[in-house]
Amino acid sequence: MALDISKHKDLIWELAKRDLKIRYKNSALGFLWSLLNPLLMMLVLSFVFMYFFRFDIEHFPAFLVIGIVSWRFFGGTAGALQSIVGNADLVRKIYFPREILTISSVLSVFVSTLLEFLVLLILLPILGVSPSFLVLLLPVILILQLIFVLGVSFILSSMYVYYRDIAHIWEVVMQAGFFLTPIFYPLSFIPAKYLNLYMLNPMAWFVPAYRDILFYKEMFSFFDLSVMFVISLVFLFIGYYVFKKLEPNFAEEV
């Protein structure tokens, strides 16, 4: 796989750029518009949980926005799901390693995520949380989540070629996931007897890790890091295996 990527890096980058251009409608203003969604979410959810639910968490908007941005990264899988079917003409007409389509789609999501984290780092002090040197660990989590997102995207994009209801199913999964991931509440809210079950959600490991280094300014545990490492690699291997298994018939099925 590494070989394919290096050989086709121009193509991957080009396709990712296309995605970004379409997402941001060819303008810097487009990027600002795209920030509107997470910021509005932050405002509304902050209001709801601070004043209606009376959550007693210090700097709740900052707490919340970290969760939202890292969840949005995972939400990119919904776009990557379309990466093969959305390029049906390309797949039907010319041969090239198909994983390039999924990789470039995830790459474009990653670039958006990096930009959003950049804005987040500027926003955090305004919301009362000044960053510490632990920010330097941010790339580690980002890379691990990138690998995880790529693995999931491989599974989704290749299966979507055969099963078109995956898009709807995935929408429901994402909606449920938003509530079953510690985005607007801390892990400590989960009753102990459900915690093991709850932690089967991979995103329940990533979101708190971001929060550790950006919000609590604590180092995440080595155990947490190992789990994230294993999760990403397992998903990448499964994803790539499924993708390669289904790839030969893409041209017939898309």
């Binding site: 121009d10 396709l15 296309r18 390029n87 003409d89 099963y163 078109r164 199913i169």
Partner: protein, 427 residues
């Protein structure tokens, strides 16, 4: 060196009886224990051929014979079930009707995208992009979205992109079918130029003329099997011969059906049902034409002739009541209704005298100087030339086909052969 080697290639398509393309349907089927059933369809069976470097090979065959599937396999788009295909060198895109990658991008962006897909660098694409648009005659439409292109524009862009990126092997599937004549010629010239540069070309076309001009070798694919391969002239001759045989069989079948319709009327003469009467037959019925058959010069029943060949038409008729000097008329129409030729017994001063009972007659066309096409034949028997009411008239009920001559083709269009030649330096 072989540019393409195909050994014992088999390709199967699955045609599901009931398409299940959702996870839910599949899961439901699995729980109910119903296996998804499908029919297997072998699109290609035991395909063996080689294409040498710099060779130009033509693939011919009827629709659905597996030609496009074969090209897709060569370009590595479709997997095969058995055998192996080796390709040496870069393969151009699979050129077919409606080529285009992404409708939501502009023409220029599509060209770049295509360039990146085949592994070109931005600089390399920059260098050829002007040529591409110039050749395609689409300079003004660079920034138009591809979805707004007509199919002809699309094809032009695809063709010039494919040509300009200079692949080692060019696969062409019937692209010359669209586009105006001048562009077709331009493409053909470009393909010839490509050929002279020693590139390998696989050319799929229904235009046997272009296959003959371009290719030295041919393959005839018939229902997924290589029927024959070899020198292009031989393959085409064999193919044309078989097509002709098939057409002949079809026309014979049609002719028989027409004859049956006539018989029905005869049998039910007592109470003729209007709705069962063939539409294009009418007449008072004192004389009935009971059989019309076409024969070739060997005296064999035949419906496919070559321009200039002889044709004999034999009629049988039945005179119910004694009739004096009826007039027989025979006419040839083109399939679009154009009247090509007519003759009758009066014009030839033939007096048939007093007739009764079953009888027969024939018309001999010594030279059928009609140009290739489908023709309809009318025969009728009338009281006289001016009469409006025939005894029996079979209007355009019989069909025959004229084919181009194999030797000395007429090289003309229209209705009839008019011998001519072009003189280039006439003052």
């Amino acid at each position: 060196m072989n540019a393409i080697e195909a050994n014992n290639v088999w390709k199967k398509f699955k045609i599901p009886h009931e398409k299940r393309d959702t996870l839910v349907e599949n899961a439901a089927g699995f729980i109910k224990g119903e296996k998804a059933t499908y029919e297997e369809f072998w699109a290609l069976k035991n395909i063996n051929f080689n294409v040498k470097e710099g060779e130009c090979i033509g693939i011919i065959g009827e629709n659905g014979s597996g030609k496009s599937t074969l090209l897709r396999i060569i370009s590595n788009i479709l997997p095969i079930n058995k055998g192996n295909v080796k390709v040496r060198g870069s393969v151009g895109p699979f050129l077919e009707l409606g080529t285009g990658f992404r409708g939501d991008l502009t023409a220029k962006e599509n060209v770049y995208l295509y360039g990146y897909v085949i592994g070109l660098k931005k600089k390399q694409i920059d260098n050829v992009i002007d040529n591409i648009f110039e050749f395609a005659e689409l300079e003004r439409f660079r920034d138009m979205k591809l979805k707004d292109f007509s199919s002809g524009m699309n094809m032009r862009l695809a063709f010039s992109t494919a040509i300009s990126t200079n692949p080692d092997i060019l696969l062409i599937d019937e692209v010359l079918a669209v586009g105006d004549e001048s562009f077709q010629r331009k493409c053909m010239d470009k393909i010839m130029e490509f050929k002279s540069e020693g590139k390998t070309i696989v050319f799929v076309s229904h235009s046997l003329e272009s296959v003959k001009n371009l290719c030295s070798r041919g393959i005839w694919l018939n229902k997924g099997i290589i029927e024959t391969q070899g020198s292009v002239d031989q393959v085409i001759d064999y193919y044309v011969g078989s097509i002709r045989k098939k057409e002949e069989e079809e026309l014979l079948e049609e002719h028989k059906k027409t004859e049956e319709k006539i018989k029905v009327k005869e049998g039910e003469k007592e109470k003729p049902k209007k709705e069962e009467k063939p539409k294009n037959r009418w007449g008072s019925g004192e004389i009935e034409i009971t059989e019309v058959k076409f024969f070739n010069k060997e005296g064999k029943e035949c419906h496919v002739f070559e321009t200039g060949e002889s044709m004999k038409v034999k009629l049988k008729y039945d005179v119910k009541e004694r009739i004096k000097n009826p007039l027989f008329r025979a006419q040839i129409y083109k399939i679009d209704g154009t009247f090509c030729h007519g003759t009758n017994t009066d014009r030839h001063d033939i007096k048939l005298g007093k007739l009764i009972g079953e009888n027969s007659m024939g018309i001999n066309y010594n030279e059928l100087n009609l140009l290739p096409g489908t023709y309809l034949y009318t025969v009728g028997v009338w009281p006289n030339e001016q009469s409006k009411k025939p005894y029996d008239n079979h209007d355009k009920m019989y069909k025959f086909i004229i084919k181009e001559k194999k030797v000395k083709p007429a090289k003309s269009v229209g209705i009839s052969v008019i011998p001519h030649e072009w003189i280039l330096s006439e003052k």
